[in-house]
């Protein structure tokens, strides 16, 4: 799909090496009405270059908090996050986030949304930016909608634009916070296929947060199970299936049911402990 480009556009569209993430003993608590809540308790995790890792857990288990800390949008109380050996001190375009709601800007059309991050990147001419933005719109299959307003798009199309916007500045890491949770099953299935294809073409390190076990098994190289109160990583599953994976395949269902059982196990003990 990559058309031949010249000059800095080729450079801009080049597949760059993805990042290695190292999360070391990260803790974070929030002040709640019933005292402090420990959202993350000494969580450590390493993500290899170009790996697709899924964080799974029930709502409120701290998985989104971890994602925000990796993004640099929140600061941990303790511990560090290293991206390629350098500590993460704030948000940056090396690590872009795709949120559950598209977070697209309604005052801009589709193309301008994708251009937003590119305009903040130095050393690009106007034409380069347009070429890059159009390349990514083509990649997510929305070339025809470049001048559409955001509210005119369906939920699935919005998330495609959000994906294009996140990919356009060519980050090394893509952080996805339940990006497909609000979509209908059919649209979701289609996006699983597209995302796998795009991931293969663009080689990003992806950390993907979801509460959907099947989704995690379909997308991730590894699936990490989070338990709440306090948020810790309980178990880890390597998903050893060939790609592209079909969400409805039997092998995948096997993985999903094993992960679900584990999830129920410790959520059950968690519930018992709370009684």
């Amino acid at each position: 799909m990559l058309r031949h480009k010249t000059g800095s556009v080729t450079e801009e569209l080049a597949v760059i090496p993805p990042s290695k993430l190292l999360i070391q003993s990260v803790s974070k608590s929030f002040r709640g009405t019933a005292g402090d809540v420990l959202a993350l308790d000494r969580v450590s995790l390493s993500v290899a270059e170009g790996e697709f890792v899924c964080l799974v857990g029930v709502s409120g288990c701290g998985k989104s908090t971890l994602l925000n800390i990796i993004a640099g949008l929140e600061k941990p109380d303790n511990g560090t996050v290293l991206a390629d050996g350098k500590p993460v001190t704030g948000p940056g375009r090396e690590r872009l986030v795709m949120f559950q709601e598209s977070a697209l800007f309604p005052w801009l059309d589709v193309l301008d949304n994708v251009l937003f991050g590119l305009k903040l990147k130095p050393n690009l001419t106007r034409k380069d930016r347009y070429d890059v933005a159009k390349y990514y719109l083509e990649l997510v299959g929305l070339t025809r909608f470049e001048h559409a307003n955001i509210h005119e798009l369906s939920g699935g199309m919005k998330q495609r634009v959000a994906l294009a916007r996140a990919l356009a500045p060519n980050p090394r890491v893509l952080l996805m916070d339940e990006p497909f949770a609000a979509l209908d099953a059919l649209t979701r299935e289609q996006l699983y296929g597209d995302l796998q294809q795009i991931w293969k073409a663009r080689r990003k390190t992806i950390v993907f947060v979801t509460h959907n076990v099947r989704e995690a098994a379909c997308l991730g190289d590894r699936v990490l199970l989070f338990s709440p109160h306090p948020g810790t990583i309980q178990e880890e599953f390597a998903v050893d299936l060939p790609r592209p994976r079909d969400i409805n395949s039997v092998d995948l269902a096997g993985y999903a049911s094993r992960i679900t059982r584990a999830l129920k196990n410790f959520s059950g003990s968690e519930l018992a402990a709370a009684e």
Partner: protein
């Protein structure tokens, strides 16, 4: 076309009723001149240039004060939305002063600035400023935090964040505040012009005032008509297109 025809008929009927009331001699012709007399006054005022001159002077006062009010109101609104200390001080002041009918500034302006352009400017600025402060404050507070977060990750900071994210995201609120500010400024300027007689220029309000002094009802009604038309034009030429654009972009229903 059909709608246009309807409103044309409506206004024709209105003028016919007026003409009927004049002919029936219910009121003295001094109090109620015929539509044609008002037309004649307007025609004379246009040909001898008084109307054009007065409109230019009034619009200049209005626009200068209005833009000063907006330029002051936007940053103040940003400040009150972002910092508690400004919210509790300037924000509360703005809320209080916004409830004050802008006409009430006229006596104060007269005492402070005398019969001067400064008095006019002051009244118009006070009419605009507080509405814009409050609307900007509300707008900025209502910007979904997720926009900020998304922009942060893409490298937007400080000024870029303000101009490219917060300002456009708050625009629907800000525009309605600007519209309200415009209405307040326009009303207060007319009041000021009626009260303040100065030699630096005869505005529409002053024409209205002298119409009364001379018991020239054709002039009073004629000028009122012009004031209404200017208000309508401001809405149709300036605010409506902006609002239409916002509705189209945001996908909000056109009220």
């Amino acid at each position: 076309m059909k709608r246009f025809l309807f409103s044309l008929v409506f206004f024709a009927v209105l003028i016919a009723l007026w003409e009927g009331a004049f002919r029936a001699k219910i009121w003295s012709p001094v109090l109620l001149p015929a539509p044609i007399q008002v037309m004649q006054y307007l025609e004379n005022a246009v040909t001898d240039g008084t109307l054009f001159h007065a409109t230019v002077i009034t619009m200049r006062r209005l626009l200068v004060g209005y833009f000063v009010g907006i330029l002051g109101g936007l940053p103040l609104g940003f400040l009150t939305a972002r910092a508690k200390i400004f919210h509790d001080t300037i924000g509360t002041l703005a809320l209080g002063l916004q409830t004050l009918p802008s006409v009430c500034w006229v006596p104060l302006a007269l005492l402070w600035f005398g019969q001067s352009e400064a008095a006019m400017l002051f009244v118009v600025v006070m009419g605009t400023l507080w509405s814009v402060v409050i609307a900007t404050d509300t707008g900025v507070r209502n910007v979904p935090p997720i926009y900020r977060r998304a922009a942060l990750t893409m490298g937007s900071r400080r000024l870029h964040m303000w101009f490219k994210v917060i300002l456009p995201a708050a625009l629907p609120f800000i525009v309605s505040g600007m519209k309200q500010g415009w209405a307040f400024a326009w009303r207060s300027l007319m009041a000021a012009e009626i009260f303040v007689t100065i030699l630096t220029g005869f505005g529409l309000g002053q024409l209205l005032h002298y119409g009364r002094e001379l018991s020239a009802m054709d002039q009073v009604i004629g000028i009122m008509f012009v004031i209404v038309v200017i208000g309508l034009l401001a809405d149709k030429i300036f605010f409506s297109p902006i609002e239409r654009f916002l509705h189209r972009r945001w996908g909000t229903s056109q009220a």
